[in-house]
Symmetry: C2
Subunit: 423 residues, 2 copies
């Protein structure tokens, strides 16, 4: 019977899924990791790819290469379309079925448009490498269009960048786009000054970086202002179409709108046939992260709705990693026959966000930092968590280069824009 207990399927190789797999590496379990991408992505630096600071290969690595040393782990490139929780199989898009004894769903989240999915084409989000290269293309193309545009009103629309959502991603995007316009691009264009570009950060709530202490939100707002970002809090987007965003009653002409507000969990709840626990579609799990009634199926990371010490665990990378480690340990101990459920407890390691390449805010709860020192803490922390010596070196060199020269290495417009011809 030990044999039959061994087949563990992990869906998704993000921060959570990868952690589960690594914990089970070299054990007696027979592990299969399924992902629809061939790469693990370091999402916290994705905005730097979108703003031409880093190259795609500096923040992503082939999953099978990361797990190559564990001979008990198979990696499959495939798209999951369903889970049969009673027959214990995972269905892939191509018709293949993966039987499992234990299943971990770690499929993350996409951006959410709060019932306005029709906005997506006009305000893309940032979750995948393709999202990042698409955004990079749009941002860089906007400046190219401005150079071609003779009408000053139309030109201003090309030079207006609206970022919706004042969380860390929104703040980081707004800061780096402002720096791109004010520090990197001047001198490259003849017909206009890139420094005239408007960067608007729109937040529906009362302050940016709502997960941080109010004084850090205030600091972030001031630091963004210094970079030339117009921060608009208490402003919800009420309309969005090509070249136009509506805030309250006012329409702003902007050719580049980026969506950094809200997340929508992957369709794990649908696969499992359970009611989603919240508007984001997450799955409510037991304290040990298993699905109620199904002790062999676990849901972790952004897809899971977990309580820890009476508070919901936030959808951040460290939380996903901790959950992955927890479930990995649970599964390991089950291999030895131990089946007592162990409750997951979230350890808040603090929050970090950068504002451009000089300032950051760091909130550890018991102590807070801001400004240049916080930026260095942020940089060192992120380089430390990158996978592999080479990537750490590459990212450190890229940042050093950008820091000292102000030029960005990855300013490439790739992919053809299917819309470009029509507009």
């Amino acid at each position: 019977m030990a044999e039959a207990l061994n087949r563990i399927v992990v869906i998704g190789a993000g921060f959570g899924g990868l952690e589960v797999a690594m914990r089970l590496g070299g054990s007696a379990a027979q592990v299969t990791v399924v992902d629809q991408r061939n790469h693990h992505l370091f999402q916290p630096l994705l905005y730097q790819v979108a703003t031409a600071l880093l190259a795609t290969s500096e923040i992503a690595w082939p999953i099978r290469h990361l797990l190559r040393r564990y001979k008990n782990i198979d990696v499959l490139l495939g798209t999951v379309v369903g889970v049969d929780k009673d027959a214990k199989t995972v269905q892939l898009e191509d018709g293949a079925m993966l039987p499992f004894d234990e299943l971990v769903i770690a499929t993350g989240a996409r951006h959410a448009y709060f019932g306005h999915d029709e906005w997506e084409p006009f305000a893309p989000g940032l979750k995948t490498l393709e999202d990042a290269t698409t955004l990079r293309r749009r941002i860089l193309t906007a400046f190219e269009r401005a150079e071609r545009e003779a009408d000053p009103v139309r030109r201003a629309a090309w030079l207006t960048f609206v970022i919706v959502g004042g969380g860390p991603t929104g703040v980081e995007l707004a800061g780096t786009i402002a720096e791109l316009a004010r520090n990197t691009l001047p001198g490259d264009f003849r017909k206009f000054d890139p420094a005239d570009a408007r960067v608007l950060l729109v937040e529906a709530g009362p302050r940016v970086l709502a997960a941080f202490r109010p004084e850090l939100s205030d600091y972030a707002k001031k630091a963004l202002g210094k970079l030339g970002v117009e921060v608009m809090t208490g402003q919800a987007v009420t309309g969005l179409d090509a070249g136009r965003v509506v805030l309250g009653g006012e329409a702003i002409a902007a050719e580049t709108v980026i969506w950094a507000a809200g997340v929508q969990a992957s369709p794990a709840a649908t696969w499992l046939g359970v009611a989603p626990a919240d508007r984001a579609g997450r799955v409510k799990v037991e304290p040990d992260l298993s699905v109620p009634g199904y002790p062999d199926i676990f849901v972790i990371g952004d897809t899971a709705m977990v309580m820890s010490e009476g508070k919901p665990v936030p959808g951040v990378a460290p939380a996903a990693k901790q959950q992955g480690r927890h479930v990995g340990t649970t599964l390991l101990s089950r291999l030895t026959g131990e089946r007592t459920p162990r409750p997951f407890r979230y350890r808040d390691q603090g929050s970090l966000a950068t504002i451009g390449r000089r300032a950051a805010v760091v909130d550890f709860g018991w102590i807070r930092f801001r400004g240049g020192f916080a930026w260095w803490m942020w940089g060192i922390a992120h380089i430390f968590f990158l996978i592999g010596v080479r990537n750490r070196l590459a990212v450190a060199l890229s940042w050093l280069w950008i820091h000292t020269t102000g030029t960005r290495g990855a300013r490439l417009i790739t992919q053809r824009d299917p819309e470009a011809r029509d507009r």
Copy 2:
């Protein structure tokens, strides 16, 4: 009248066009460089992006950044659709017209399928960054598919790579794909040994690297054989469709076929309303590189059919650069009123090609090298010709890393394959 003589339009910012622009930088001419991409591409290393050795941003740079210091040069991102050689205007796709006093067409070439354009979807070529990331996706996906495939015959088809064309690009692709399969990937897969992959290099002519001396062709063939590449000379492709390539009468099941045979010049001849000079569609030019009857319109690089000392100038990067420099100098001297046409003379600087990451062939005409020493010469030459300190450093580090560890940093499957769902 000096004012009216000044407007120079350069179409294309490849090796030739960029050289023209740089020569005219800081002069009294008012120069506009038009390109349909925002980046200049170091094409000789494109195969290394296709085979996951280098990242896209290591071999491409924004054109306007390269030319930023020259205030007399405008850079436009735009697609040329026609030239009115009598009214002296260039038409862009969006309806804009660029008037010129002098025009330089340096629009390069695409791959040619010799009247079989229907083969292109099944055997993509390698000319742009998108081509390279598409090829990278196809090559890496083939190994992923092999891991998923239970049928040994179908699996063998996923593990068969056919490169059509035995010129430098074909030889370099075949060598690096063989190394990817034999050195980089083993250990990453569970269901098969990547070293079992077949890499076939198919050449219609009697030998590979036909532009080199026969003894270097022989050496290249042997070196490829050592890497596990099957070299098939005297074999023309007679049929090609999804998963199948026909050589003579024999059909080979291969899911990845890459086209590295033959080039087709850009449609400059059509724009100019002249008969193309050869099957590749190139424009025959005068000894000074101007179009017959139109002394103010020049065609250079892969688009031009030029004779030098009785022999046609080859379609290689150094020839395009020399032509660009020649036309740039001609246009500079015209600014001072000098209008005597100066004939272009090609200086052959030798030919280089690598076979994997240990061997190369170098042919200077008067002296030839092969093997490891030639590889180092090739590497140093290419790093030297890369633009910018940072890129030289990045490429040198990437190569050093790959050389010492055997891992490749850019093994990312990006873009979704629209065909993948159907097959």
